[in-house]
């Protein structure tokens, strides 16, 4: 149980997918113009990262490892994730139109979010078991969501600021992300295992 807590803190804050591992920059900058859309995107990412962590763990341990085909990891994971995103979209569309209206437009974008493939590969290379993988995926998604929501709130304010022409848009967004990442560096010295007495 304590081990899960360590994984959760590490994936969400200390090794934040966006601000410390630099994964998922394109949707981070692309979908952060407004706070509401950023929230929708975060929910979709948490959902897909958790599902992808579970499914890719099963693929690795029940298909690739027994057949001795671990070298096909990249090919099989990306296909599984692409299919999973498509499937989730169809299921949500049929069963819960409300959720589909909230998440629908973000789902196709998620296949290109490298945090999703990243969490799948990181789970396998860290030797997590199934539960640990699921927790790691959910916490990673929450951490990414926290980052994009903070960033969207900053950007809404930034729209009123006078910014020189060459720095408008993408460049100032990157510099702002850098400052946000500097704040998150504060978590890097936090020893969770010792804090909860493991």
């Amino acid at each position: 149980m304590k081990q899960l807590l360590v994984i959760m803190f590490s994936q969400a804050l200390i090794n934040n997918y966006m601000l410390s591992r630099i994964l998922g920059t394109c949707p981070f900058i692309g979908v952060s113009q407004q706070f509401e859309t950023a929230t929708g995107m975060s929910l979709a990412v948490v959902f897909v990262m958790t599902m992808a962590s579970v499914i890719t763990w099963l693929v690795q341990h029940f298909i690739l490892n027994p057949l001795g085909m671990a070298y096909l990891q990249t090919v099989s994971f990306i296909l599984v994730i692409a299919a999973l995103v498509q499937l989730i979209e169809m299921v949500i569309k049929k069963n819960s139109p409300g959720l589909y209206r909230a998440l629908g437009i973000y789902l196709p974008l998620i296949t290109t979010n490298c945090a999703v493939l990243g969490v799948a590969i990181i789970n396998i290379s860290s030797n997590y078991n199934l539960i640990e993988s699921a927790v790691s995926g959910a916490a990673g998604g929450l951490g990414w969501g926290l980052a994009i929501m903070l960033f969207a709130a900053i950007r809404e304010r930034q729209r009123l600021a006078p910014i020189s022409e060459a720095m408008q848009g993408f460049p100032i967004a990157l510099v702002t992300t850098g400052l946000l990442a500097m704040a998150f560096l504060g978590f890097s010295g936090f020893d969770v295992a010792r804090f909860i007495g493991l």
Binding site: L23, Y71, A82, T112, E165, A166, A181, M182
Partner: protein, 218 residues
């Protein structure tokens, strides 16, 4: 339809994937901590771009358009696996430093973007040249960014562990700023670099439009 030479030069400056098209940001910031990492990542992506552009261009009349994206992804992932295994065998230290970013070349948007925007519509020779140009443009951008970050962070430039080369020391270690090697440095350096490129492009455009007003037509 563009000629092979045009396709090649296009990616270097006019449509530089990093500075102009703003694609493939994650590996750009993650790999530009040292010149050797930047060039290694750039060349790996170049190989994948050339291979996937060639195969997709050859198969462009066979692949049905409804399922083209999964087909492209499989082709790209195959070349990424080749790079992953070869790099692990011959450049183990570079492979260890780049880590998860080597398999993640598969979701580098430059590669899928060129497959969709260029290789699926053009002949194999042009597609190879487009892949080479885009790949070298990406490598060049990585080399520039890492040539700024590496010395600022360590005081050393061009260190390459796999080649047994310790690099050239520009100034003593105690003046180095380790934070430039962190993601923080990546975000800020890339942001300022894109800002600088925007400034240069805007100045150039202004000068040419000033010239055009005095001269004839456009």
């Amino acid at each position: 339809m563009s000629s092979p030479l045009q396709a090649f030069t296009n990616g270097i400056y006019k449509e530089n994937p990093t500075f102009r098209l703003l694609l493939g940001m994650c590996p750009t910031m993650a790999a530009s901590i040292a010149v050797s990492n930047g060039i290694g990542m750039g060349l790996a992506a170049t190989f994948v771009l050339i291979g996937s552009n060639l195969i997709i261009s050859l198969l462009r009349s066979v692949i049905p358009s409804e399922i083209r994206i999964p087909c492209y992804v499989v082709v790209i992932a195959t070349f990424v696996t080749i790079v992953d295994l070869v790099m692990n065998a011959f450049l183990p230290q570079l492979h260890a430093v780049l880590g998860v970013f080597v398999p993640l070349i598969v979701v580098n948007c430059i590669i899928l973007a060129r497959a969709e925007a260029f290789a699926s519509k053009n002949r194999p020779v042009s597609s190879i040249m487009d892949g080479l140009g885009m790949g070298l443009g990406f490598t060049l951008a990585l080399a520039v960014l890492s040539a700024i970050r590496e010395p600022l962070a360590t005081g050393v430039i061009m260190a390459a562990a796999d080649l047994g080369f310790n690099g050239i020391r520009l100034f003593p270690q105690r003046y180095a700023m380790a934070i430039v090697n962190q993601p923080v440095g990546g975000f800020i350096t890339l942001g300022l670099a894109i800002g600088a490129v925007n400034l240069i492009t805007a100045k150039k455009k202004k000068r040419s439009s000033d010239g055009a007003q005095g001269g004839a037509g456009k």
